[in-house]
Symmetry: C2
Subunit: 244 residues, 2 copies
Amino acid sequence: MEKRTLHTILSPRLLDLYDLTNAIVVIIDVFRATSTIATALNHGATAVYPVADVERCKQLGAELNAITAGERNGQVIEGLLHGNSPAEYPSTFIKGKQLVLTTTNGTKLLKMALDQGADKIITGSFVNLGSVCRFLENSEKNVVLACSGWKDRFNLEDTLFAGAVAEKISGQFDLNCDSTLMAKQMYRLHEKDMAVFIRNTSHWHRLKAFGLENDLEFCVTPGGAEVLPLYNPQTAALTAADLI
Amino acid sequence: MEKRTLHTILSPRLLDLYDLTNAIVVIIDVFRATSTIATALNHGATAVYPVADVERCKQLGAELNAITAGERNGQVIEGLLHGNSPAEYPSTFIKGKQLVLTTTNGTKLLKMALDQGADKIITGSFVNLGSVCRFLENSEKNVVLACSGWKDRFNLEDTLFAGAVAEKISGQFDLNCDSTLMAKQMYRLHEKDMAVFIRNTSHWHRLKAFGLENDLEFCVTPGGAEVLPLYNPQTAALTAADLI
């Protein structure tokens, strides 16, 4: 039997170079959308609706009587109730509620993967690394690790997470992919000093001015929110899936 | 005084995200276009004309009474005289002659950089690493290291060369660029085992079937063809520039 393929996509601009049919696409936006999604679902949110713009966020929030949340440049958007920080979603607040979240990089990439015929779409960050790996290992599909980047540019934090997944599951896959090889090596190099190394990244420099250092450290620490966010195209929502 | 900026672009698809005005753009296509260009010029070719398609290659070759060369998938193109191997251009053959070379990845990226208003365009590979670094160090411009990749996908050999340049010159620059940081770290990791590590790349697997292993080793060995290929938009040719 042919081995499954595993590819890593370093920017949304490169997504269409890859075949997503029969593939599980992992949307990666470590700082901070996919960390926040996992945290909210792990703390009992019943669904997370990722939406691209602020108007849609307000409209859907009103329809569903849901929490609306979103940030631009590290600040809560005017007219929305909450931001894009995992720390804002403890179970005492989010349990049993629905969350409508507007983000720039991650949401756009999710819609692109959907339009391109992805078989399944999940979201991943270090906080749910174990759940993502378990889901991918137990599936029979190809895997595409899709980094959201920053406004289409390459970023390190998403690449390191792709590398972490590849490091843990790649034995099952045919690995003829230079970006996956690079991501694995970068992860190996920084697995032990992640919280220090990540302070060198562009995104850290952008966000630390907003006092978000604790937030960012949480986002790169494995296991803080072990849940599997699975996208349902019918409802346009992410919900916590049962792991086999 | 503000420091100059240094960015690394991992695929032609990402070039338009960066400002090329007041920047020197280094076109990188290690396997093998920019290695061949440096070798031909170092061995006395008077000019190298990079062209995008085979018909233009034949036409210009006839006009200039020049050597025509090009490959697709590791084979010399029918109707052209030579291939894309540095080993085909010893000084006994190429000295005093003009070369018209058609390549896919590198030529396309060079035209894109030109259209996007690059201040200067040069080409680089490990064979002329020292010349490229000296030219960039002595200039007062920003620098964009532009990797050709493979059909717009990320590749390791071009990234490693970008990392080698960044490692040697980055002290002079403001380095707020995750792709440059990654490239530098990958280069440091493999500086000592380049000829072995590079055998893991996708491109090596594609080309080794054609018996090109010696060729590929030459392309990743520093200093085999120390010359500075500078593109002249008026003549549409690369010629060996004087280093300051």
